[in-house]
Structures are given as structure tokens and as C-alpha cells.
């Protein structure tokens, strides 16, 4: 029997601890598939966050370092500068990347550090029980915004791709979603391109993946998947926000 598709070799046999329907699993798979396709598993170093993906070191078969909350881009910077031949990526949630780690995120991008950042935006703090994140949508009910996020007192959601795309440092910035098969296939292309930019140009690349958190949204996996399309994508439009190749060609 010919195998058409199987679990990527870069992902371990351990059962994910994520909730049923969680977007982290899809993101892990995409990164694993890309590592397989590029054949970089043995020279990749992942830097994993604090958040639901804190135990991602059990799942990625490459070398993995655990960073303090929000500090993954700083740790990844250190790894990449000491071992420039390695492929280094950070994998971070929205609380990790856009709240406690905003400074590290912005400055790693501003320096154009030769790393890839995989950003899992699920509009909530998953691991700690569903508090409001910087990316929580206006009106969204969370543990710490029980009447819905009011932007006039709690601020407007951060759009990280748009923010980072104003800088000169990053080579590639794209936002993708993990709700439909077509979006997931496009997301894989983006992840692959991000790694390729790092390998071929030593450049900084950033991919945001809009993901579902059924548990803390209080939804079934199917409802949560649909919310990504109906509520998140209108606020966080998909697309390429910066691509150094297009800029060079004057597009």
C-alpha cells in the first residue's frame, strides 16, 4: 500500500496535550511538514513559549529550547548568533508574543534578526484559563472582560503583522488562517517561505496563524473553526504584509 500522507517525521509519536480542535496542533503539523520537506530537522532549533505550547519540546523532533514568558525572540537571537548555520524559529502565542514579549518581538524584527517567528493568534490566553489578550476582539467575552472587550477602556486589539510591516528589518511577514483546508494549505506555503527566507537570506520572517481555542471561547471545535472565518479574518485580514523580494522588484 502506498502512503499518500502520514505524520511528518519531524513530529514525535507523543499524543498532543492540546484540547480537541485546538489550532496549535495544525500549526505544529505545518511546521513539521515544512521541516521534513526542507530536510532541516537535524539542524533546526525551536524556541518554545510559555502558554499552551509550553510542552512543544515533546512534539518537535528537532532541538528545542524553552524560553521565559515572551522572551523567545531574545533566546532565538542568542542561538542564531552563536550557531548561524542552524535554522532557528520561535513558536509563540498571542499573550507571549504581543503582551509580555512585545519588546523582544519588536526589537528582534527591527534588527532583522535571522530567525523565523511562528505566531499563534487565538485572541485569548489559553493556558491560564481564558483571560483577555492584546489580540482579543472588541466585544469578545473573556474571563477578564466578562461584558465583552470595551476598546475605550481596554484598548484596541494589536495587529502585529501590520505593526511589524512598517519596519525595514523584517524580510517576510504574512498572516494566514487555519480554519478551511484552502487556508491551511496557504498557511503551509507561508511557513515554508518563511523558513526558506531564513535559510537562503539569513533574514527575519514572521508568520501569524489565526487559530481556534474552542475551550476558552466556550465553543465546540466546529463552532470555533467557523469563528476564525466569521469574526477573526474580518478584523485580521489575511495576506502578505511585507516581502523583500517584491520590494526589490518594485512591486
Amino acid at each position: 500500500m502506498k502512503v499518500i500522507y502520514e505524520k511528518p517525521k519531524s513530529i514525535s509519536d507523543k499524543t498532543f496535550h492540546y484540547c480537541p480542535g485546538c489550532g496549535h496542533g495544525i500549526a505544529h503539523r505545518l511546521v513539521g511538514e515544512v521541516m521534513d520537506e526542507l530536510g532541516i530537522e537535524d539542524k533546526t532549533v525551536a524556541v518554545v513559549p510559555v502558554g499552551c505550547a509550553v510542552m512543544a519540546y515533546d512534539y518537535f523532533e528537532c532541538d528545542v529550547m524553552e524560553a521565559a514568558h515572551g522572551r523567545a525572540p531574545a533566546v532565538a537571537t542568542g542561538v542564531k548568533r552563536c550557531l548561524p548555520d542552524k535554522v532557528v524559529f520561535s513558536y509563540q502565542g498571542d499573550g507571549d508574543l504581543a503582551a509580555i514579549g512585545t519588546a523582544e518581538t519588536i526589537h528582534a524584527a527591527a534588527r532583522g534578526e535571522g530567525i523565523t517567528v511562528i505566531f499563534i493568534n487565538n485572541t485569548i490566553y489559553g493556558m491560564t484559563g481564558g483571560q483577555m489578550a492584546p489580540t482579543t476582539l472588541p466585544g469578545q467575552v473573556t474571563q477578564t472582560s466578562p461584558f465583552g472587550r470595551d476598546p475605550y477602556t481596554q484598548g484596541w486589539p494589536l495587529k502585529m503583522c501590520e505593526m511589524l510591516s512598517t519596519m525595514t528589518g523584517p524580510a517576510y511577514i504574512e498572516r494566514c488562517a487555519t480554519d478551511t483546508p484552502a487556508h491551511i494549505r496557504a498557511a503551509k506555503k507561508a511557513v515554508k517561505k518563511a523558513f526558506t527566507y531564513q535559510i537562503e537570506r539569513g533574514a527575519y520572517s514572521f508568520v501569524e496563524l489565526l487559530c481556534a481555542c474552542p475551550t476558552n471561547w466556550g465553543m465546540t471545535p466546529g463552532e470555533a473553526r467557523d469563528r476564525v472565518g466569521s469574526e477573526m479574518i474580518p478584523y485580521y485580514p489575511l495576506g502578505i504584509f511585507r516581502d523583500i523580494c517584491d520590494i526589490k522588484e518594485g512591486k
Binding site: 502506498k2 500522507y5 502520514e6 499524543t15 498532543f16 480537541p20 503539523r29 513539521g32 471545535p221
Partner: protein, 67 residues
Amino acid sequence: MNTAEIDKKRCKACGLCADACPKKIITINPYAESAYGRGCAEVSDGCVGCGTCAVVCPDIAITLRSV
């Protein structure tokens, strides 16, 4: 002939594959044993090997084979 095989050690019965399957041949059996001991996807005959289920599966529980 194609088959989609569900890894019972990984499946959590989220049902996303059943929704995505264009042939609607995947069902969630709430009593079957799986990762959490409750509920698992089951595939009946008629798979065309499109792989849509594997694309949406958050737990990498699906292997596709063709004969």
C-alpha cells in the same frame, strides 16, 4: 482503492475531519476508545484519497494510503 486510517492514540474526536470530508464517510463514534478514552473518528468505505481530513486534523491522527 484509498483508505484514511485513524490513529486511535492521537484522535480526540473533535469532528473537524467529519465536517471536512467531501464524501461524508467519516463519523464520530462517541463510544469508541481513543486518546482520551471517549470518542474516536471512524471511516467507512468510499474514500477518494483527497486528504482533506488530514489537512484539517489538529492531532495528526490520519494516515492516507492507496492500493
